[in-house]
C-alpha cells in the first residue's frame, strides 16, 4: 500500500522528501500495548489524516513525534534527528488539551510564541484574531472552549513550521467553526511542510487529506492516499473507516 515514488495527489506532484521516519515503534502503558511495531514515513507537502477509534494510539504517536513521550521502543526521527530541542523547533504542535495558561490574556500567548519560536509570524496571527473576532486582551479562562481552540490553532498555524501535528483540532467545535478551522489549516500550511492531523470527525476533514493512516489494535491497518482509497474501494474515507472499525 505504501508508495516510494512521487505521488500525484489532487493534481499536484508531491515531492517525496521524508521529514519523519518511524521504524518498529512500540509504546506500552503498563502491560497494555498501544503501538506495536509501527513503521511509517511522512513526506513534506502532504496533509495526512491519522484515524482510529478512541484509545487506539493516535495521540501517543503524535506525542512521541512531538517529544512529549520518550519511553518507547523503536526509532523515531524528524529531519534525521531523534526528538530533541532541534526537532521541537521544526514542529508546531496542537494538543487536544488547552495548554495555554488560563490566567493570562491571549496577548500573553502571542508574546510567548513570538519569543520562543523564530518562525512565528505575529502579524499573521493578529490578522487571524481579527478575522475570527477574537480579542487578544481577553483572558483565556473567560473564553469558550471553541474560542480557546481557535486561539491555539491560530498560534500553531501562524508558525512557518516544517511539521504541524494537530491532535483532534475540531473536537469541541460547532460545524461552522469546524469549516473555519479547516480553512485556517489549508490557508496557512505551506507545500514545504507536513500536516499530520488526528480526528474522528472524518466527514468534515476528508476533503483536505492527501493520505490516510488508520490505526487499530495497536497496528497500522490502512495506509494509502485518499485518491487510491476511492478508486480501489469505491468508498469514501469515512465509509472505509466504518467498515474497518465496524463494531
Amino acid at each position: 500500500m505504501w508508495y516510494q515514488i512521487n505521488w500525484m495527489v489532487k493534481g499536484r506532484k508531491i515531492k517525496m522528501s521524508k521529514i519523519i521516519e518511524i521504524s518498529s515503534l512500540q509504546k506500552k502503558y503498563g502491560s497494555k500495548t498501544v503501538l506495536d511495531n509501527i513503521s511509517l514515513s511522512f513526506e513534506k507537502g502532504t496533509i495526512v489524516g491519522l484515524l482510529g477509534p478512541n484509545g487506539c494510539g493516535k495521540t501517543s504517536l503524535i506525542k512521541i513525534i512531538a517529544g512529549l513521550i520518550n519511553d518507547y521502543r523503536g526509532k523515531v526521527t524528524i529531519d534525521g534527528n531523534i526528538p530533541n530541542e532541534y526537532t521541537k523547533s521544526l514542529i508546531s504542535y496542537l494538543p487536544e488539551k488547552t495548554y495555554l495558561s488560563e490566567n493570562n490574556k491571549a496577548e500573553y500567548a502571542l508574546d510567548f510564541f513570538e519569543d520562543f519560536y523564530a518562525d512565528f509570524d505575529r502579524k499573521k496571527a493578529e490578522e487571524m484574531f481579527k478575522q475570527f473576532k477574537l480579542d487578544p486582551q481577553q483572558k483565556i479562562k473567560s473564553m469558550s472552549k471553541g474560542m480557546q481552540e481557535k486561539v491555539q490553532l491560530i498560534l500553531v498555524m501562524s508558525r512557518k513550521a516544517k511539521v504541524y501535528l494537530l491532535d483532534e483540532p475540531l473536537g469541541g467545535l460547532d460545524p461552522a467553526s469546524r469549516k473555519a478551522m479547516l480553512d485556517i489549516i489549508l490557508n496557512n500550511y505551506s507545500e514545504d511542510s507536513l500536516v499530520l492531523l488526528s480526528t474522528h470527525l472524518i466527514n468534515d476533514v476528508e476533503r483536505i487529506f492527501d493520505r490516510v493512516i488508520m490505526i487499530g489494535e495497536s497496528k497500522v491497518l490502512i495506509d494509502d492516499t485518499v485518491d487510491n482509497i476511492r478508486q480501489t474501494t469505491g468508498k469514501s474515507v469515512e465509509g472505509l473507516f466504518e467498515e474497518v472499525f465496524k463494531c
Binding site: Y29, L68, N70, E85, K88, S89, Y99, D115
Partner: protein
Amino acid sequence: MLRKLLKYEIKDTARVIPFFYLIAMFFAVMALVAKQLNLGWLTGTSSFILILVGIAVVIITFVVVVMRFYKNLYSNEGYLMFTLPVKPQLLLASKTIVAFTWIVISFVVAIVAICVSLYGFGVNGTMLAEIMSEFEKYGLEKVIYFLIPMILLSILYLLAQIFFSITVANRPAFYGMGAASAFLVFLATYVILQIVQSVLTIFVPFSIELNLVGNVSASLSTKNMLGSLLENINGLTPTNITIGLSGYVFVVIMICVLFYLIGRMMNRKVSLR
C-alpha cells in the same frame, strides 16, 4: 533561551507573591505608626498580625513556587513547555532560580516583619544590642557567616527534594495514585535523606570542633560527633562541641544529584498524561 524562560517565570510568579509583601508592609507601617502614636492595642494587634503575615509569606511563597512547578510542567501547560525548542534542563534551571530567589526574598521580608513586630512589642534596639554583645563576648557573632549559607543551602535542598518528588510522581508508574503520589514520594525521599544525613553527621570522623573555654575558637577535627553527644547525654559539661560536617557535604552532593536526576527524567523519561 534561559533569559526568556526566566522572564516568563518571573512574570507569572510576580502576580501573586509581592501582594503578600504589600500586606506585610501595610501591617508593618500600621504597627510603627501606632507605636509612634502610643496606641497600645493597635500596636499589639498589628504587631501580632505582622508576625503571622511574616510566617505566612514564607509558606505561601513555597506553595506558589511548588504549584507553579507542577502546573507549568506536569498539567496541561506542560504540553506547551515541553514542546518549546529548549533543553528540559533549562526549564528546570529557570524554575529553580526564580523559586529560590522568591523564597530568599520572602525570608528577608519575614525577618524584617518579625523585627518590626518585636519593636512593636517593646523590644528596642538596646535590648537587641545587649543580645548581640553577649554573642560577641563568646566570639559567636561570626556564627551568622555560617548560618546564612546554611539557610540558603537548606532552601535549595528542600526545593530539590520537592521538585524531584513531583517529577518522580509524574512517571507513568505513579499515575494510578493521583495527587497523593508526589506527597508520598516526598515523604519517603525526605525521611531516607534525613536518616543518611544524620548517620553521616554523627558517625563520620570529619567535624568542626568549637572550644567553649574563653573566646570560642573553631578548628577542623577528625573526631566524630558521637563522643560530644554522649557527654551531653551523660550530663557532663563539655568544654568542646564537635559538629559533624559530613552531613553538610552530603547535602551539597545530594542537591547536585537530585537536580541531575530531575533534569535526566525531564529529558528522557517525561511522559505527560
